[in-house]
């Protein structure tokens, strides 16, 4: 369990990093927190000839709540911000509570101290909570290379099992997690074999209510049920039901029927589907409860009256 030899690069600026990535092409890999890449290298499942360490790039460790052109706000997370930085960021927690709800289920504190949120998106593990969170919120990832900059929406970002659309010469510089519309409650629930393990099935939910406490919109997202995160719009299934009579369980069963999880050594497909139904119900119920109690996302203006940024070192 020792990796084969490689050339180590430690660029000091983003431009330098992009130059190196362009030069080494498919033989190179970005290393961020190393929590996924290093095990793969040690097991010789990945053998990049060049490692481009982005940990010394300045100004990529940020977590900031910012306004968007479309008037909505979002939490923007820089490439070297650790899961723990996002988890502990007070403003991000108020703007998109779902982030912290999901992050609490990502691995263990020591791993969250090193692993990066953007890295987990690029890594595109089908069990990675943040993939579903990005997809559920309709977020995006900003990619830069010497060829230019592009912003890829979540719907196009996750391509397959452990595969995102990031080209070998591209650096994911940040990810944007948009703030949901007002009166939206969120929830993340999952079942894992042990505390902090990748989930056997994980479900995120967003429920938006109207003034009459009826469900105006509801969406769910899933990890560990397919090669990429799955998002379902369950608004129609709930049919604008009042919160106290909504049949969450039936919606859960409907949602599970839309999914085609597989078997592995920890759980059968049938069990995963069953979990999807149960957890959908629980997540929707919890999200709706939060919406009702007003524990919903806040926009950037609400948080600070202005766009603000904070560097997290």
């Amino acid at each position: 369990m020792k990796p084969p030899g490689f050339t180590y690069h430690r660029p000091q600026t983003v431009e330098e990093a992009l130059d190196v990535l362009a030069e080494v092409g498919p033989e190179g890999k970005v290393i961020a927190g190393g929590q996924s890449l290093v095990p793969m290298m040690n097991m010789r499942l990945a053998a990049p000839q060049h490692l481009v360490d982005i940990n010394h790039l300045p100004d990529l460790g940020f977590v900031q709540v910012e306004g968007q052109d479309d008037g909505r706000s979002g939490v923007r997370v820089g490439a070297t911000a650790r899961h723990a930085d996002v988890e502990r960021d007070h403003d991000a927690g108020r703007a998109v509570p779902l982030l912290q709800q999901a992050l609490a289920c990502v691995a263990h504190p020591t791993i969250r101290n090193r692993g990066t949120t953007v890295g987990s998106l690029v890594h595109a593990d089908p069990a990675g909570e943040l993939t579903a969170v990005l997809a559920l919120l309709g977020g995006s990832v900003e990619l830069r290379s010497t060829r230019g900059t592009r912003t890829v929406p979540a719907t196009e970002f996750f391509v397959g099992l452990l595969e995102s659309c990031v080209e070998p010469d591209e650096l994911a510089t940040s990810a944007l997690f948009p703030v949901p519309v007002p009166r939206t409650g969120s929830s993340w629930v999952e079942v894992a074999r042990r505390n902090g393990d990748y989930a056997l099935c994980g479900v995120g939910a967003l429920v938006t209510i109207d003034d009459d406490r009826r469900v105006r919109a509801a969406r769910t997202a899933y990890v560990s049920v397919g090669p990429t995160p799955v998002v379902l719009d369950v608004t129609d299934e709930l049919d604008a039901a009042p919160l106290h009579t909504a049949d969450w369980a039936t919606v859960g069963r409907w949602a599970a029927e839309q999914l085609t999880p597989g078997d592995d050594i920890h759980a059968t497909a049938h069990y995963r589907k069953h979990l999807a139904a149960v957890l959908t119900e629980r997540a929707l119920r919890e999200a709706a409860g939060r919406a009702e109690r007003g524990e919903s996302a806040e926009s950037a203006e609400q948080i600070d009256g202005a766009t603000r940024a904070r560097r997290v070192s």
């Binding site: 020792k2 030899g5 042990r194 505390n195 393990d197 050594i265 759980a267 059968t268 069990y271």
Partner: protein, 797 residues
């Protein structure tokens, strides 16, 4: 007065060093050594057609490559069967490097020595081994059907078939008012110590001697094995177990192929060579345990009393049998627990499979035996509609029936005779601790909240402290330090602390003046090893016996100095004193000086022992006839047979009605291991054991596919419980001293793990109303059982 420390929960002397990173493990030794990596078989069963190293030869840093062809003499012979047994009619062991055939994934085929492990692995990647794959035998079912064979010359894949009987069980069962049959299954798990195996060897060409550091549970025996394999005189070989990061059984096996190959390379290359096992290697090339199928037939009366018990066990021994058939022997003898079975018949088949070899893992066959017996007890209770503890109580051996002879032969070849124990009292304590009689109320309240809870119980008796012997050396230095050595090894149990406690009390010195060395053949050459919950019993008593001899000599020498009758003297506070005469004393350090008459003075203490220093009788020789210089002694303890500890666990679990997740709400242990030397250390042993028991019951398994590939050979997928999965453990103790040894000790090392699968199966069954006959169980499996309609939890009592 020096306070007695035996019985006190003093902190572990080794902790400050180990917890601050000052431990010294094999991999920490000699950083300039060449490093080894192995090409291991990727196939479960195959013939080796060709090994091509050409591509590897130009790798920078490569030092040597060895295959079977490079082995000579005894290195070219198969490894020994460590524990031969007449019932092991078809024992097979591997070669240190595969010869012609491989029988499990992970079997070593080529050894590479290089400047470091990175280079060694690069070389391994470039060595091309051509295999002719053979169909593998995977799992007990396949082994039992014998459609395919692991070893061509072993019919039916059976390495051993053994029957033990006491009375006529089949006819006792036939005549019993009630008969039940159970089919049970336990899956594989493994010791998985956090430090894997490791070997460091250096050859001194001038001295023509070999020093080996190895992460072992049996350094003296490794020394004998290395000397034998490499054909060296034993006194030219030193073997040292430095700090060892856990063993749990797997490191009792020896010599491992690596344990003789690394020294061989060191001698041939004239350089220090080391190998540090990585986690993936550990999963596929050390050893596993536990896998068994069991069939139980039991006959009992309407009160639930056993009339006859007939058990057949199919034991998966993996590809080879280096450790003999100890595990199934223990299963079939220790299965009986605290009960009188009526007539008993136990039969086992030890079966070859093309999977990793099976050798003892903490508990060593007992968890499986306990599972069989305790599942049977629960089944009887259910059949008769009796309380589960009532059935157990009625079958207990009573304290007045001790010593109790089962009429069987135990793993040490000695009769299975329980020496002592009070099972009814243990049960009473446990019932109180967990609140057995109040549980119905709790269940009703939980049910009203829509929660599903269950309670379980499991009892065991553990034969501990098996022979043949251990020895201890105790010496008082002239500065008053007491140096203790014993040959068995330490893997974190706290031997430094407990052996020091024993010796400190015997000699009346503060415990921090006692320094203990274990597992170093330079310090103590005769030993057996650390396994079978034997260290405290064996070496504890041996060092006590040695200390008593030292005490006797100290009193004699001090008696002369103080002109007093030794019978009027006592040892306390590091002095020898005349009882009741304040001031009439001599420090133990001075006694040490006096007991070694010197010619040369190299310091002040020595000066006091030279010939002109003080009065001595010119007519007597300085060292009396029959006496020896020095205040030191060696003692040995060799028991007639094992001493039997016992305990009972109870657990309350909650199962999620929707997700089938299983959580342990309470876990209670009542434990009797005789006299406690250090209750804190015993509790620590119990906690660690329970953690492994929980692992074996709810999380851990070895997932082999049909091709014999281990699918979960990493800590990502082999689910060792985290601290978050281990419940709070509530403990209580009984102390029924063993009449078999001077200190009254029974072993405590394995106990905690034994009833894990049994007690959790019992509790889950109680919560769900589903018969649980196979462990471990995952939420996914419980979900399947529910779907199969095995249960009707809501109707469960």
């Amino acid at each position: 007065m020096t306070t007695r420390t035996v019985g006190e929960p003093i902190p572990r002397a080794e902790d400050p060093r180990l917890l601050t990173g000052e431990g010294r493990y094999v991999d920490d030794i000699g950083g300039d050594a060449l490093e080894v990596a192995f090409v291991r078989s990727p196939h479960a069963h195959a013939r080796i057609v060709d090994i091509d190293v050409m591509d590897a030869l130009d790798v920078d840093g490569l030092v040597a490559i060895y295959t079977y062809e490079d082995l000579r003499d005894r290195m070219a012979e198969p490894l020994p069967i460590l524990i031969p047994h007449p019932g092991l009619t078809h024992g097979r062991t591997p070669y240190v490097l595969a010869k012609d055939e491989v029988n499990h994934v992970g079997e070593p085929v080529v050894m590479v020595v290089a400047t470091d492990r990175y280079v060694a692995e690069d070389v391994c990647d470039r060595i091309a081994v051509e295999y002719d794959p053979l169909p593998p035998v995977v799992g007990i079912e396949a082994a039992r059907s014998a459609a395919l064979l692991v070893h061509d010359d072993v019919p039916d894949n059976v390495s051993a078939h053994l029957v033990q009987e006491s009375g006529d069980a089949p006819s006792a069962i036939a005549q019993a008012p009630n008969v039940l049959e159970l089919d049970l299954e336990i899956e594989r798990s493994a010791s998985t110590p956090l430090e894997g195996r490791g070997v460091h060897a250096r050859w001194d060409p001038d001295d023509r001697s070999l020093r080996v550091y190895t992460s072992t549970q049996a350094s003296t025996s490794v020394r004998a094995a290395v000397a034998a394999k490499l054909e060296l005189p034993a006194d030219r070989v030193e073997v040292i177990a430095p700090d060892v990061g856990g063993g749990f059984g797997v490191k009792i096996v020896h010599p491992w192929p690596e344990e003789v190959l690394v020294p061989m390379a060191a001698i041939r290359l004239g350089r220090a060579v080391k190998w540090t096992e990585d986690r993936r290697e550990h999963f596929v090339s050390s050893a596993h345990e536990r896998g068994q199928f069991q069939h139980v037939r039991v006959g009992f009366d309407d009160d639930g009393r056993l009339h006859g018990l007939d058990v057949t066990v199919w034991h998966d021994n993996g590809a080879y049998t280096p450790y003999g058939i100890i595990v199934p022997i223990i299963t079939t003898t220790q299965l009986l627990g605290p009960y009188k079975p009526g007539a008993y018949r136990a039969e086992f088949f030890s079966l070859y499979t093309n999977t990793l070899t099976v050798t003892p893992y903490r508990g060593a066959g007992r968890p499986q035996g306990c599972f069989a017996m305790e599942r049977t007890m629960d089944a009887i209770a259910e059949h008769l509609g009796l309380d589960r503890v009532t059935v157990r109580e009625r079958n207990f051996i009573q304290p007045g029936e001790m010593p109790y002879d089962h009429g069987l032969t135990f793993q040490d070849g000695r009769p299975l005779i329980y020496d002592s124990g009070d099972y009814p009292a243990t049960l009473e304590k446990l019932k109180k601790l967990i609140g057995w009689d109040e549980f119905a109320e709790y269940r009703a309240a939980a049910r009203a909240e829509g929660r599903r809870v269950g309670i379980g119980i499991a009892c065991y008796v553990e034969g501990t402290g098996v022979g043949p012997y251990e020895g201890g050396f105790v010496k008082v230095e002239t500065d008053g330090t007491v140096v203790v050595a014993t040959g068995l090894t330490t893997q974190g149990q706290g031997h430094q602390t407990v052996f020091a406690q024993v010796v400190a009390d015997e000699l009346g010195v503060p415990v921090d003046r006692v320094v203990v060395t274990t597992g170093d053949t330079r310090r103590f050459g005769y030993a057996v090893g650390t396994f079978a919950s034997r260290a405290a019993v064996m070496s504890g008593n041996a060092v006590a016996l040695a200390a008593r001899q030292v005490k006797e000599k100290a009193l004699r020498v001090a008696g002369e100095a103080l002109e007093a009758d030794p019978r009027d003297l006592e040892l306390a506070d590091g002095e020898v004193r005349v009882k009741g005469v304040p001031g009439a004393s001599v420090p133990l350090s001075t006694v040490a000086v006096l007991s070694n008459p010197l010619r040369y003075a190299f310091d002040d203490e020595a000066k006091r022992a030279t010939q002109f220093a003080g009065p001595s009788d010119p007519e007597k020789p300085p060292v009396a006839e029959g006496d020896e210089p020095g205040l030191e002694a060696t003692g040995y303890y060799s028991p007639p047979r094992s001493t039997f500890a016992n305990g009972m666990h109870a657990a309350i679990v909650e199962t999620d009605p929707d997700t089938a997740e299983i959580s342990i709400l309470r876990y209670c242990v009542v434990h009797d291991c005789g006299t406690l030397i250090n209750p804190r250390i015993v509790e620590g042993q119990i906690h660690g054991g329970v953690a492994q028991g929980v692992g074996g019951a709810l999380y851990e398994r070895m997932v082999y596919d049909d091709a014999g590939q281990l699918l979960n050979a990493s800590f990502m997928d082999f689910l060792m419980p985290y601290s978050t999965e281990v419940p709070m453990i509530e403990t209580d103790h009984l102390q029924t001293p063993s009449p078999l040894n001077p200190l009254g000790i029974k072993g405590a090392g394995e106990a905690g793990v034994i009833p894990g699968a049994a007690v959790l199966a019992s509790a889950i069954e109680d919560a769900e109303g589903i018969r649980i006959s196979r462990m471990p169980i995952s939420p996914s499996e419980l979900h399947d059982l529910r779907r199969e309609g095995h249960g009707a939890a809501d109707e469960a009592p």
